[in-house]
Amino acid sequence: MAEVFPHVHQWRLAGRFPQRYDSAGMESSPVWHPVKFLGVFTDFPTLSSVCLPSKEYRVAISKPLSLDQLKAMTKVLRRHIVRMTTEAGSGHPSSSMSAVEMVTALFFGGFMEHDPAQPRWKNRDRFILSKGHAVPVLYAALAEAGYFPVEELMTLRKLGSRLEGHPNMKRLDCIEASTGSLGQGLSVGIGQALACRMDGLSAHTYVMMGDGEMGEGQVWEALASAEKYKLANLTAIIDQNGYQQTGATKDVLKLTEFQPKLEAFGWHVQTINGNVIEEVIEALKVARSVKDNPTAIVSHTQKGFGILPILAPTGDLNYHGKPLSKELAEKALALLAD
């Protein structure tokens, strides 16, 4: 780790984790410890306060990793996903695995300018995980980016942990939207993108949805309204891994040809193999270059990508919503070793 990602390692050594664990102002520590719950009536001043950018951190985090480093990072994130869901005894590792290349490219490929020292910095680029059940991939990336210690990943889904089963923006400043009820993240992203544009900010908002999630009507309401406001600072990513809870997405609803549908809504659309990081990087570059329309990336992926040889013998390539057994996890970790 230390050799491949020197800047991340340096932050850890310097103890440069966010100075507070929550908006109630708890002291941070490189070692995880249980955190205070926030009361529902507690003010949330960090949301609207303007944070001054901390150039040093921003530059560090926005400096892209090399292609080799990015590929290594996909393995790191996948190992985290396996470990944390097996430790938790529940969760959605296969839904997380399909999105690893996209999340890696976004957070470490130079596409997102953000600041672990100031998670609510106003001009940060935003990533909203609308398919909230895949949050292990997001937690893994946030930990590697320096938002919290990687050790904390092992608290996933446990009582008192900030790493809840679905993203909770009240628990973690680096979570952009509380999701878990499908179909809602794109609307929230539109609100963020509108506000950023009103404030003259250059920030870009990325929203990742699942292909099964596209069955939610609200997504299509959101697609229409983003086009109305010509939100070129918004990119929707459909992580089309082909499966949803009860089976193949194409068998549940025949929505699966997304490119023509989204183009008909006035969006700039690219379709890629989302498990090939080179394709992901190219698509993200194009998305950032479009200036007058919201952009979408239909990212064809495989659920469980990276550990498919482990899942295949189980006869369940969907493997929805269940962690690997300890035995399978060990096999998966061996497969994902550097």
């Binding site: 009536f41 003010d43 303007v50 809602q184 609307s187 509108l194 506000a195 229409a224 309204s225």
Partner: protein, 319 residues
């Protein structure tokens, strides 16, 4: 309109009209305020604001779920979005979005439902929000505010924008009598005593406040004096004012333009059951949907009248 006549009140503007004007007047003082509409801004009156501040008004079409989600995103980025539709569509169509995107993360979104209650009249039951208070006050951390008239709306809209956190403001469609003056003081979370009496307290909000004042006049002629409380904030509820009313007057009548379950009556009864048990009678539309008709005719048919409050008062005084 006969509401408020017995109490000597003169007819004023509708709460929704006062809301639209107040929002526009506050537009310069609150530069972060934006409106998000579901294509009924000319009904909810947010168009008054949006015409004055066109770059701050968004009509996202007939899509309430998306509308609430967008408002949440705007709030997360530091804006103060005022999201509005008919109360029925805002609270019922977009309830999951309100729960997930607004209440759960406790975002600073102001939700305004117009055309609440059965007094909207001819459009009928599909347009009448009669369960909105139950839905919205069920959500942790959401303030629920029901203004009684135009002058109080002006104060409560300002209070809503100053309040940090989600607020639901319920507005009626029809013109209502003026109860407050321009200098009245209204604070979110604090009930207002409008009249004092010894024998019972009538707790009401919205349209029912004027009717409660009429009832108090009629009761006085029968030798029963009633305190009248405007409980304009249902959540967080003013426990102190309710307990004081019970201690000083002994009995309560709660009147609301809502279903019997989960509204002001339930909220008040929950307070008294724990802190000051006492006889209570409830005036509401009953456990039913209403229908098309003229507003006053509907209020009579569904029992939201001064006579109904008088009967409830006499009953509670006999217990």
């Amino acid at each position: 309109m006969t509401i408020g006549q017995a109490a000597g009140l003169k007819l004023g503007k509708a709460v929704r009209d006062a809301f639209g004007v107040a929002l526009k007047e506050l537009g310069n003082d609150f530069p972060d305020v934006v409106t998000v509409d579901g294509d009924v801004g000319n009904s909810t009156r947010t168009e008054v604001f949006a015409k004055a501040f066109p770059e701050r008004g968004f009509n996202v079409g007939i899509a309430e779920s998306n509308m609430v989600g967008i408002a949440a995103g705007l709030a997360a980025a530091g804006k103060i979005p005022v999201v509005s539709s008919f109360a029925a569509f805002l609270t019922c169509n977009a309830y999951d979005q309100i729960r997930m995107c607004v209440a759960y993360p406790h975002l600073n979104v102001k939700m305004v439902g117009s055309h609440a209650g059965i007094s909207i009249g001819e459009d009928g039951a599909s347009q009448m929000a009669i369960e909105d208070i139950a839905l919205m006050s069920a959500l942790p951390g959401v303030a629920v505010v029901v203004p009684a008239d135009a002058p109080s709306t002006k104060h409560l809209v300002k209070g809503m924008l100053e309040h940090v956190g989600p607020v639901y403001l319920r507005c009626g469609r029809i013109d209502v009598p003026e109860i407050y003056g321009p200098d009245s003081v209204l604070t979110i979370g604090k009930a207002n005593q409008l009249r004092d009496g010894k024998n019972l307290t009538i707790i009401a909000n919205g349209l029912m406040v004027g009717i409660a004042l009429d009832a108090a006049v009629a009761l006085e002629a029968k030798g029963i004096t009633a305190r009248v409380l405007d409980l304009h904030t249902v959540s967080p509820i003013d426990e102190e004012a309710i307990v004081k009313a019970v201690k000083e007057t002994g009995r309560l009548v709660v009147a609301e333009e809502h279903l019997p379950h989960g509204g002001v009556g339930s909220a008040v009864a929950s307070v008294t059951a724990q802190l000051a048990p006492c006889p209570i009678e409830f005036v509401n539309i009953g456990n039913t949907y209403a229908e098309s008709g003229d507003p006053e005719g509907l209020l009579v048919k569904y029992g939201l009248t001064a006579e109904a409050i008088v009967a409830a008062a006499e009953k509670v005084c006999s217990r």
